[in-house]
């Protein structure tokens, strides 16, 4: 069995499972946020049982419309706050957490070998620590609140074997965009995607999170990396309880294995309006941008901010460009303050906003007007994703977005003058 199958077998009390089996899995952790939680709470109340199945296995995080951008959002936040209090559920309020997919691993809620579900499609991020993690809807989250169980079809696994060494300004984001470009926006639908190989072993947990995070953009059920020393080191002092690490058997059967060598990988950009529409950044130098966004659950971690700061240090954001920097969590924010990164951003003319999802989903700050273009480190470039349906979004790494903020055009960071 591979790692995904082993986790699902354990969670459903079986010794062996095969792709296509439908299992009733015990859930170790369920998460909802401010845009999916309210529907989940309403659905839970309709079920008609007074208490959740296990309040220690539920987390609620406010991160999308944060701080409340309207009276409606404030009402939803208030409702979730009250539900969490009534049920004794761990609740991350405004200023106490940040983006859910950063907070879950940081605060030790995401653990290897566990089944994690979340009412957000990017829940698959936690596969970076060797968890089976997948996105669900609000009603399904309510059913998990009530029963602690979920039906899952054991997926076929697509293995992506990555070798080689990244060049200076090429990052895991460029890799995942290039993978999605090759596999296609629905190329991994219903499947598990297992990232393996020497380049993954050498990659930080932060980089692995970027890869697993965007697995859903090729349709995957989950993205996963075998937990190793890097994962265990990340979990030191964070893990909320003991955990078990699973590894794929040497004779595990994969639906398919795809090889990637990152040695010659160039800074890569996903053009509007699908994530698999990828091109090298160097071919897009005619695209002018009005906004550059560095943040999100894909690329708002300290490593990402360091990389962006390395490029923005001593440079200025081009007139006519709004550069937004949003640390993914309060912890990242604090670290960025300590390292002087926020000063670099501020000096360059970027605005630093409080830890939240920001413009990524077009619900809150940093929206685009018709005809405007944003180059963004986030994960989706769909029509209307960041505001107007007549605006465009290009997805890229923090290095490419920072370089583009300086020139006002999509720019390969290697092409910026020293």
């Amino acid at each position: 069995m591979d790692i995904t199958e082993k986790i699902l077998a354990k969670a459903s009390g079986k010794t062996h499972v095969r792709p296509g089996d439908i299992v009733d899995a015990n859930v170790d952790m369920v998460m909802v946020h401010d845009l999916t939680g309210p529907l989940a709470v309403e659905a839970f109340k309709r079920i008609g049982i007074p208490r959740v199945w296990d309040n220690k296995k539920i987390v609620i995080i406010l991160d999308h419309q944060v701080p409340a951008e309207s009276v409606k959002a404030a009402e939803l936040h208030k409702m979730l706050r009250a539900f969490a209090k009534e049920q004794g559920i761990r609740f991350y309020d405004v200023g106490r957490g940040g983006i859910c997919h950063q907070v879950m691993p940081e605060k030790g809620h995401a653990l290897p070998g566990t089944v994690m579900v979340g009412a957000d499609s990017h829940t698959c991020t936690y596969g970076a620590l060797g968890a089976f993690a997948t996105g669900i809807g609000s009603t399904e989250a309510a059913a998990v609140f009530a029963t602690g169980k979920i039906w899952l079809k054991v997926p076929e696994t697509l293995k992506i074997n990555v070798t080689g060494k990244f060049k200076k300004f090429t990052t895991p984001k460029d890799l995942i965009l290039s993978i999605i470009g090759r596999v296609g926006a629905d190329g991994a639908t219903y499947k598990a995607v297992e990232f393996a190989g020497s380049a993954i072993r050498e990659m930080s947990v932060s980089g692995r999170m970027t890869l697993c995070n965007m697995s859903v953009e090729m349709g995957a059920k989950n993205g996963i990396v075998e937990p190793d020393e890097a994962a265990e080191k990340f979990l030191e002092g964070r893990a909320s309880k003991p955990y078990e690490c699973f590894k794929s058997d040497a004779d595990a059967k994969y639906e398919k294995t795809i090889e990637f060598d990152v040695t010659d990988l160039e800074p890569t950009v996903a053009c509007p309006s699908s994530v698999d529409n990828v091109k090298p950044a160097s071919e897009l130098s005619n695209v002018t941008v009005e906004q550059a966004f560095i943040g999100s659950c894909t690329n708002g971690r300290i490593e990402d901010l360091r990389l962006a700061a390395q490029i923005l240090k001593g440079r200025t954001v081009k007139d006519g460009v709004r550069a937004l920097v949003i640390p993914a969590s309060q912890e990242v924010y604090k670290q960025a303050v300590k390292e002087g990164l926020l000063e670099v951003f501020t000096d360059a003319g970027a605005i630093v906003c409080g830890s939240a999802c920001g413009p990524c989903l077009g619900g809150h700050i940093g929206l685009l007007a018709p005809g405007e273009t944003c180059v963004s480190t986030s994960n989706r470039n769909f029509i209307g994703r960041m505001g107007s349906t007549q605006a465009s979004v290009y997805l890229a790494s923090p290095a490419t977005v920072a370089a583009s903020a300086v020139t006002g055009k999509i720019t390969d960071p290697n092409e910026l003058e020293a």
């Binding site: 999916t36 999308h64 499609s121 009603t139 926006a185 629905d186 639908t189 077009g362 619900g363």
Partner: protein, 165 residues
């Protein structure tokens, strides 16, 4: 369960951001959500769908965000059921969980034109284009999913199962 209606067609990779843009996620009432169904692709969709329609779509319908507001908006705008070449997995589960019947069927895009009358038999998996006299076979849903749909959704299904215990 049998459902029929006139077809409204969509292409491949229709994402949840165009089905229900993020700025409307603070709306809780399905009636309010329905007013914005498909706004990113066709703002006149709620008007077209209100008499009850069958959505016929290409590959990967509902990709992107896990927002259940997307299938909710479609259902309350008047979508009676959906047939697609394939669905994105979270959308597929969400649709079933809120009681909107969905079925996958290879070749459906070519077999149906907008405005055709389509009849779907969810028990047999058979999809009939009444206007063209063609029959296609979709991927039959497993019995436990058919039960969820017959109950009207996952919450109703759960209520019934909990009562039995």
């Amino acid at each position: 369960m049998k459902v029929s209606g006139l077809a409204i067609k969509f292409g491949n990779d229709v994402d949840t951001d165009v089905i229900l843009p993020g700025k409307y996620l603070v709306l809780i009432s399905p009636i309010d959500l329905a007013k914005h169904a498909m706004e990113g692709l066709d703002p006149s969709f709620p008007e077209k769908a209100k008499r009850g329609v069958v959505v016929v779509a290409g590959r990967n319908f509902g990709c992107g965000s896990s927002r259940e507001q997307a299938p909710l908006a479609l259902k309350y705008a008047g979508v009676k059921c959906m047939v697609a070449e394939s669905f994105a997995r979270i959308f597929f589960r969400n649709a079933i969980n809120i009681g909107l019947p969905v079925i996958e069927c290879r070749g459906i895009s070519a077999a149906v034109e907008a405005g055709d009358e389509v009849a779907v038999d969810f028990d047999s998996g058979e999809i009939r284009n009444m206007s063209k006299g063609r029959t296609l076979r979709g991927v039959k849903l497993p019995p436990f999913i058919q039960e969820i749909l017959a109950d009207g959704g996952l919450i109703e299904n759960l209520q019934r199962r909990l009562k039995k215990k």
